[in-house]
């Protein structure tokens, strides 16, 4: 009988990590990720988790420690967000470059300045080019589940790319929700077998890791990473399908609601997807044809799957919880516009930037966004490419 408990997002991460039989953890505290490390500390101190927690002196060292540890074939974990993720920035590319299957929880938090500890996606979005797989959770159950899938995907020998599991700061990290846990043996059976790395550090067969590549070779290594990202596009749905089988919970690269005949589909990442779906349900009761797509996998961008689910709509409203200064719109907006550029059936695509620095998106805000989409569907005209929701002039 699977256990049903109340857990906050941070606690859920820690419990999942524990069940994944992680070997080395290194993390530096940063609000709102702190409960993850504290809970893991409890597990280790009580002997519930047989792992080494390296109490590093910065996030930069945290990722360095787990990347190096991963090279020995150990299963590793770290967590951070915001300034911590920004501090790790150079190592993000290195972890991906050496193909270390690190799993990192990102407790999505706004980037300074000004300093702000609340939820937005500017931190993980800034890392979208780094060669990490990015998964976004909508609720605490998904947070818990995605950790297992993250290890399954990252450690897949055809992928071997580090993976981020993103959960909104405070909204998910500190909110208690119902979580159905996997049994320990079910979890271990689902996970890949160790060693986690392709060529674990071996005294018998000594190798050099992290070499220098001149212009005659660098490019090829990057192509290898891109190839792995493409392989991940197939590995991820399979890993999710397998998880569906062992958990009974349906997982796919997105969670779609009422998209088949929707005129307006709103696509979003993270906890806001829940709000959008619940408002969409209300509107549907009134016969208004709206739908939502809660995107779970952001990198690699699931182009094929999104084309299928979105192309029937008249209007797509992308919701970006980050501001890409000076760009034509947010990251999700630009990705989707790119996706449909060559298509015959091209929905109108408009962007909404919302929720920066933890600004709440209320159900009435959500309703207004659907109405905005419906207005565009009626007029066939997008008044402004990017609409800021909830900003005072």
């Amino acid at each position: 009988m699977p256990k049903i408990v109340g857990l906050t997002g941070d606690e859920a991460v820690a419990h999942a990590v524990k069940q994944c039989d992680v070997d080395v953890i290194a993390a530096y505290p940063i609000t709102p990720q702190t409960i993850i490390v504290e809970t893991l500390g409890d597990f280790i101190a009580n002997g519930e988790l047989n792992a080494e927690m390296v109490h590093v002196e910065s996030e930069h060292s945290a990722l360095s420690v787990v990347t190096a540890a991963a090279l020995t074939g150990a299963r590793v974990f770290t967590a951070t967000c915001s300034q911590g993720l920004a501090l790790m920035f150079e190592i993000l590319y290195i972890t991906s470059g050496v193909r270390a299957p690190v799993v990192m929880a990102i407790a999505n938090r706004a980037l300074s300045a000004p300093i702000n500890i609340h939820a937005d996606h500017s931190d993980s979005m800034a890392a979208r080019d780094s060669g990490w797989i990015q998964l976004y959770a909508e609720n605490v159950q998904e947070v818990y589940d995605l950790i297992f899938m993250a290890y399954k995907i990252a450690e897949n020998k055809e992928v071997l790319l580090p993976t981020m599991v993103c959960l909104d700061g405070f909204t998910l990290t500190h909110t208690l929700e119902r979580v159905e846990m996997l049994d320990d043996d079910v979890a271990l059976k689902y996970l890949p077998k160790k060693p986690t790395y392709a060529h674990p550090i071996s005294i018998e067969e000594p190798a050099t890791y992290g070499s220098l590549a001149l212009p005659d070779y660098y490019f090829e290594f990057k192509i290898q990473q891109e190839f792995a990202m493409n392989r991940a596009k197939e590995v991820i749905p399979k890993a999710m399908e397998e998880f569906t089988k062992v958990s009974g919970r349906e997982y796919y690269v997105y969670n779609a609601y009422a998209t088949d005949d929707a005129d307006v589909i709103v696509i979003s990442l993270g906890s806001t997807s829940g709000t959008m779906r619940s408002v969409a349900k209300e509107l549907r009761k009134k016969g208004i044809k709206v739908g939502t797509v809660a995107l779970r996998v952001y990198r690699p961008f699931p182009a094929k799957e999104l084309k299928e689910v979105l192309s029937g709509a008249k209007v797509i409203v992308t919701m970006d919880r980050t501001l890409s200064f000076g760009a034509l719109g947010g990251p999700l907006f630009e990705d989707l516009r790119s996706l449909f550029y060559d298509e015959d059936r091209r929905p109108l695509i408009a962007d909404v930037v919302y929720g920066l620095g933890g600004r709440d998106l209320t159900p009435s805000d959500a309703k207004a966004i659907f109405e905005y989409g419906l207005e565009i569907a009626k007029t066939g005209h997008i008044p402004e490419l990017v609409k800021f929701v909830g900003v005072r002039e």
Binding site: V98, A207, Y209, E220
Partner: protein
């Protein structure tokens, strides 16, 4: 000139799997002067072996004793440290003529 590898044949993750593969590189080409050991003067003290930055002094041993000291001319860069520190001045730096 060896053929450059393509991304499909290269091991992933910047890994170099062949240990000590730089020994293929003929750094001996760098020299203008080469060390020449006078084996009559040489006392097999092995100091040159300890002080060569490139590990290019080869020791021949018999029954655990060093019986001959030779230079690995394939790799020796001709820095001249060995000639400078030899306590019996058994090594001279001779201009390399090719």
């Amino acid at each position: 000139m060896s053929k450059l590898l393509g991304w499909k044949e290269m091991p992933i993750g910047t890994l170099i799997l062949k240990p000590g593969s730089t020994e293929e590189v003929k750094t001996g080409d760098w020299r203008t002067f080469k060390p020449v050991i006078d084996h009559n003067k040489c006392t097999r003290c092995t100091l040159c072996y300890y002080y060569c930055p490139d590990g290019s002094i080869m020791l021949k041993t018999e029954n655990g004793k060093v019986v001959k000291v030779d230079v690995d001319y394939y790799h020796c860069k001709g820095c001249g440290i060995c000639a400078k520190i030899c306590p019996v001045k058994a090594i001279s730096m001779v201009e390399e003529v090719r």
